[in-house]
């Protein structure tokens, strides 16, 4: 049996989902679509039933791509659980009436019931149940109240016999509301004041800057702590001795040794340079990148669940407009800072082809994912803030300028922002942990195999001399335009697969700061990693993606060439 959890966005659906699926269930990603589709299992009367968390929808008439996918899912369901925001009964009932017309067994969870009472709204659930003819349960998913009753009543879900005039839906809803809801006078709550303060420009912009600064510091703090106290000790104290043993054991088996361990640097393993499958291949995704990915997704989940993200979208709307986008396009950008793949998927929240094309292109060009950032810090960190600020500053300028240009070049329309701003809510910790875990699993599943494959391919290309050959052919571009040694070509080939690994390949080349900066910028810009590329082909279509790729390569060469010229003067 398939049970669908349906509701408007921001009604606490995910929390209900987490409550229903219990502790030891691991939610999985919904294949092929977006990472936000979750599936779990629930035991009902001794039988296992599938519970699917359908993305939030306002109505069964879709207004964007993400909603279309959600609405298509409805056909597969056997039972609907509609989660209603009790503080917003009227417009939630609009969806209820549309769902009733689907003629499927249904049950309603009146969630956020406590918050409604707190704000002076009281709803007569019994009466509501009588009128719309499906079971209604008051729940407060955050504290778990009402969840058990909800589970018990799922088997009572029934197809409603409620008759109404669909043309007069709002009138019908009005009639229901009059009978079941009572609103008492209430004072402005603290939460409401906070809502106002954080979207008024004069207070909102400083708050936004503070939040971004805090986000950056927290990510660094969590990431560095994980590295210093967990990952580094593990790799240094546990893994290295093991690898040294293995290396001794493999003496005489040159090929295997090179493949698994790589090269020993000064008699020991250097995770940056050894370049074996079990050394660099494991260290880059797990030791250098994973800690920051954990940190990033934890903080992001917190921002998402607190309700702050839509406010960020409003505050940056003006800037995004200059690039033919609107404020919501900041969400793919923010997600892209973690990993470009979910960022690419998130371009779905934008309505037109023009917006999607611009957002996907500027994200791929100039939003460095966490893996890339971690490696940039590793590579340029030793030179102090100078190199890093040039790289990040350049990427930011490229991001903005490319957007400005694309707005003028790309045909199509750029609609204005239209977004609901949810009230602030205290995030549900277990939900955050689950969400972060889901995204981590996904990162590990995607990143580790690609890095391992990358190491393998790099080794093969080197041993067959292909890398050296490509380096020779492309040498003129590298040497004259970008001012890089021809060996850097190898890194750029690797960059198609994994950029973190590609940056790692620059370490042994002994380049100057100027060369490192140029190589870092070019590597960040010229192509998204292969995983993002695959997703974007699906999202944009092959023709648009090829156009986008041309723009990326062109932009990378121009920016790299310019940087090379400017830095030759200023950095020497």
């Amino acid at each position: 049996m398939k049970i669908l959890l349906i509701g408007n966005p921001n009604v606490g659906k995910s929390v209900v989902f987490n409550r229903l699926t219990g502790v030891d269930v691991i939610s999985s990603n919904y294949p092929g679509t977006t990472i936000d589709f979750t599936k779990g299992y629930i035991i009902l009367a001794g039988k296992r039933a599938e519970l699917i968390d359908v993305p939030g929808i306002y109505s069964l008439e879709p207004t964007c791509g993400a909603e279309e996918v959600a609405i298509e899912m409805l056909n597969e369901g056997d039972v609907f659980i509609q989660v209603i925001d009790a503080t917003n009964l009227e417009r939630n009932l609009n969806l209820t009436l549309q769902l009733i017309r689907q003629k499927k067994p249904m049950i309603i969870a009146l969630n956020l019931y406590d918050e409604a009472e707190h704000t002076g709204i009281s709803i007569d659930t019994k009466k509501l149940e009588q009128i719309i003819d499906v079971p209604c349960v008051a729940t407060c998913a955050l504290s778990g109240e009402g969840i058990k009753e909800l589970i018990d009543k799922i088997i009572n879900a029934r197809t409603s016999e409620f008759v109404f005039d669909d043309m007069q839906r709002w009138n019908e809803i009005g009639k229901i509301i009059d009978q079941v809801q009572e609103i008492k006078y209430r004072q402005h709550t603290f939460s409401e004041k906070l809502r106002d303060v954080s979207v008024r420009p004069i207070t909102g912009i400083p708050i936004l800057l503070l939040v971004l600064l805090a986000v950056f510091m927290i990510i660094r703090f969590i990431g560095e702590s994980l590295i210093n106290y967990l990952f580094e000790p593990f790799f240094e104290k546990v893994w290295s001795p093991l690898m040294i043993k293995l290396s001794e054991w493999l003496i005489g088996q040159e090929v295997l040794h090179d493949l698994l361990i790589g090269e020993l640097i000064n008699g020991t393993i250097d995770y940056g340079q050894s370049f074996g499958l079990l050394t660099t291949g494991l260290f880059v995704p797990l030791g250098a990148v994973l800690p920051y990915v954990v940190a990033f997704y934890t903080v992001l989940a917190f921002l998402e669940d607190s309700g702050y993200l839509p406010r960020v979208a409003v505050m940056v709307d003006n800037i995004m407009h200059k690039m033919g986008l609107h404020g919501l396009a900041i969400i793919p950008m923010l997600l892209g800072l973690g990993c470009n793949v979910p960022g690419a998927l998130a371009t779905r929240i934008l309505e037109t082809r023009k917006e999607k094309f611009i957002a996907a292109t500027i994200m791929s060009i100039a939003v460095p994912c966490m893996a890339l950032q971690a490696m940039l810090f590793g590579l340029l960190g030793p030179y102090g803030a100078k190199g890093l600020s040039i790289v990040f500053g350049t990427l930011f300028i490229v991001w903005f300028v490319t957007g400005l240009l694309l707005k003028r070049i790309v045909k199509g329309t750029s609609p204005e922002i239209f977004v609901e701003i949810p009230p602030y809510r205290i995030p549900y910790i277990r939900g955050i942990i689950k969400k972060t875990w889901m995204r981590l699993k996904w990162f590990i599943k995607e990143a580790v195999p690609f890095v391992l494959l990358g190491v393998l391919i790099a080794n093969l290309l080197y041993s067959f001399g292909i890398m050296q050959f490509v380096g020779k052919i492309t040498a003129p571009v590298f040497i004259h335009v970008l001012g890089l040694p021809e060996e850097a070509a190898g890194a750029l080939i690797m960059g198609f697969l994994r950029k973190d690994l590609a940056l790692g390949m620059l370490i042994p080349l002994d380049m100057t700061l100027k060369q490192l900066v140029v190589a870092s910028v070019v590597l960040s810009m010229y192509f998204p990693c292969v995983a993002t590329f695959a997703v974007l082909i699906k999202e944009l279509g092959i023709v648009d993606m090829l156009k986008s790729t041309m723009i990326m390569i062109l932009a990378a060469l121009i920016t790299g060439g310019l940087l090379n010229m400017i830095l030759s003067v200023t950095l020497s």
Binding site: Y58, S59, E61, T63, D85, T87, N88, E90, R91, N94, T119, W170, R195, D196, V199, R200, P201, G204, P310, A313, V314, M315, D317, N318, H326, G327, P415, E416, I417, F418, V419, E420, I421, P422, P423
Partner: protein, 75 residues
């Protein structure tokens, strides 16, 4: 009667007309915002940025252009 973008922040008003196409009316409608509804303007961003209104417990941000099409009677 003035358009929403000209309404002062913090004021309460009643929507008297939405001079937009079907898309805009529909989108607002789904959030429970339609002619006759009482709304509060909670913020307006600088330089023709989005306007934010609240009705009941629903708060939405709408682009400046759309806000120009929504007429309100300020209380």
């Amino acid at each position: 009667m003035i358009s929403l973008n000209k309404m002062p922040v913090g004021k309460v008003g009643i929507i008297t007309a939405i001079n937009g196409g079907y898309g805009l009316i529909q989108k607002l409608d789904l959030l429970g915002i339609r002619t006759g509804k009482e709304i509060i303007k909670t913020s307006g961003q600088w330089m023709k940025g989005p306007v934010i209104i609240r009705s009941g417990n629903t708060e939405i941000a709408i682009g400046y252009g759309m806000a120009q099409k929504i007429m309100v009677q300020v209380k």
